[in-house]
């Protein structure tokens, strides 16, 4: 069977598996952003003071901002090594649609960085005395919100992958785009703490997720074509 005849699903699975294998061989790429996430969150009680009331008031914001920053930190590896060793260009030259390839890479990135973040978030919520009613909201918003972070971040990485010192630039490009997710996620958690329904905020985050899921891969593909020029 020639490579050109692969179905879209097979291509997707192939790229996903490849990225996951590479990630498993460089485990520190998975662990370091997580450690960063944990350390940033533990810094806040040290800076603000250990009063449980204050901490539980600001816990959603801290967890989400830390999640944004650690995602940002891990974004760099999304295309960088592939760009350096030339496999990114090979992917762009392949007959398969760029949309599928890019989407597979983003999904792999989320599985590597977003999912562990969600798993460790309840632990940090305990440290910050998050209101017990908010745990469900925290997990749900992270579940819907972190893929948006990966998708939007991929656009920024694709734009800066050809630039030597793209790290700081990346944060300048991507962080403003993260603001709506941050606002709705923290608000959902706050609302949950009051015992009120937060399905509205969740629905908006879900809308952001599906919107970016359909549009972001196109933008990433276009940006990669510019960057690998």
């Amino acid at each position: 069977m020639s490579v050109a005849n692969l179905s879209y699903r097979a291509v997707f699975a192939l790229v996903l598996k490849r990225d996951l294998t590479i990630a498993m061989r460089h485990k520190d790429d998975i662990i370091n952003p997580l450690l960063f996430f944990v350390i940033v969150v533990t810094l806040f009680p040290l800076g603000i003071g250990p009063e449980a009331q204050t901490l539980s008031r600001i816990a959603p914001g801290i967890i989400w901002v830390a999640a944004l920053l650690s995602t940002l930190l891990s974004l760099d590896r999304l295309f960088k090594s592939d760009h350096v060793d030339g496999s990114l260009e090979q992917m762009l030259l392949s007959p398969q649609p760029v949309f599928i390839l890019v989407l597979a890479k983003i999904v792999a990135h989320w599985l590597i960085t977003g999912l562990p973040l969600i798993l460790i978030a309840p632990l940090l919520a305990v440290l910050l005395h998050l209101n017990e009613q908010s745990y469900g909201a925290l997990i749900l918003t992270l579940l819907l919100g972190t893929p948006v972070l990966s998708l939007l971040g991929a656009i920024g990485v694709a734009l800066t992958v050809g630039i030597k010192k793209g790290g700081v630039l990346l944060s300048l490009l991507v962080l403003p785009l993260y603001i709506p997710v941050l606002i709705f996620a923290t608000s959902a958690i706050d609302t949950a703490a009051l015992g009120l329904p937060y399905s509205g905020q969740l629905a908006i985050i879900a809308a952001l997720f599906f919107g970016s899921l359909t549009l972001a891969p196109f933008a990433v593909g276009a940006a990669l074509k510019v960057s690998t020029n």
Binding site: G162, L175, I183
Partner: protein, 254 residues
């Protein structure tokens, strides 16, 4: 209509066209701004609630709406350049970014200076001020991306994609910030109410607004011309133009 537009796709023609309308635009900007600003500062009546601090309105509002307008213009230019591979649109988008950033900064600073006597603090997380701040970040991102690439054509394309992503996000950001603002309105926030504009307030505002629009076009024209030159630096017409310019400067110096 397309036939009429066609010659302007040529960089040389647009360069000279921009140069030709530049003095007219400058004259119009100077005329409208001097009339409008003097009228606004000295002759327009003071607001019955806000007193003379209302005079900040005459620069704050034009700057704020132009900052959004320029971003929209940039997005349209980026779209045309990406879809129709229209190189000049890239140049115009690159010309617009710093102008838009400056107007956003003006809107922010005048907003703060207006807020101090009205709200009692320089900064308040008011929905409009916050989204203006985020708009400034978006502008700075576009400018930074422009500067990061050596090749101007690549820079234009990359910044174009970012601009389009930003323009899709901008309404979402604006909506979310407004929503966030109404949610967190714990402290006593006396929003700047919609000022009831009387006719003697409206006219100076119209003059100021038109003046600022002309001023923006002047800036964009100047920057557009330099962008065209930078992007076509190996073309013969640019070469002859530059050598003529240098020769003229030499004769002026002598």
């Amino acid at each position: 209509m397309w036939k009429w537009l066609h010659p302007y796709a040529n960089p040389e023609v647009s360069y000279h066209f921009a140069g030709k309308i530049l003095p007219w635009l400058s004259a119009l900007a100077a005329l409208f701004l001097s009339i409008g600003l003097i009228w606004a500062l000295a002759f327009a009546p003071a607001d019955y609630q806000q007193g003379d601090s209302f005079r900040i309105f005459y620069i704050h509002v034009p700057a704020a709406s132009l900052s959004m307008g320029i971003y929209l213009g940039m997005a349209i230019a980026a779209f045309t350049s990406l879809v129709w591979q229209f190189k000049l649109a890239d140049a115009s988008a690159a010309a617009m970014a710093p102008v838009g950033a400056t107007f956003t900064a003006i809107a922010l600073i005048t907003g703060a200076a207006w807020g101090k006597p009205m709200w009692g603090t320089w900064w308040i997380w008011d929905a409009r001020l916050t989204s203006e701040l985020i708009l400034l970040f978006l502008y700075l991102g576009v400018i930074a991306l422009h500067n990061a690439f050596e090749d101007k054509n690549l820079a234009g394309k990359a910044a174009g994609i970012l601009t389009l992503v930003g323009v899709i996000n901008l309404p979402i950001i604006k909506y979310s910030v407004e929503w966030w603002n109404t949610l967190h309105q714990g402290s006593t926030v006396s929003k700047l109410g919609k000022p009831s504009m009387s006719v003697d307030m409206l006219w100076p505002f119209v003059f100021c607004f038109l003046g600022f629009i002309f001023l923006v076009s002047v800036f964009i024209c100047i920057r557009f011309r330099s962008e065209i030159l930078a992007r076509n630096s190996i073309r013969p017409w640019v070469r002859t133009l530059v050598s003529e310019h240098i020769a003229q400067e030499k004769t002026n110096a002598v």
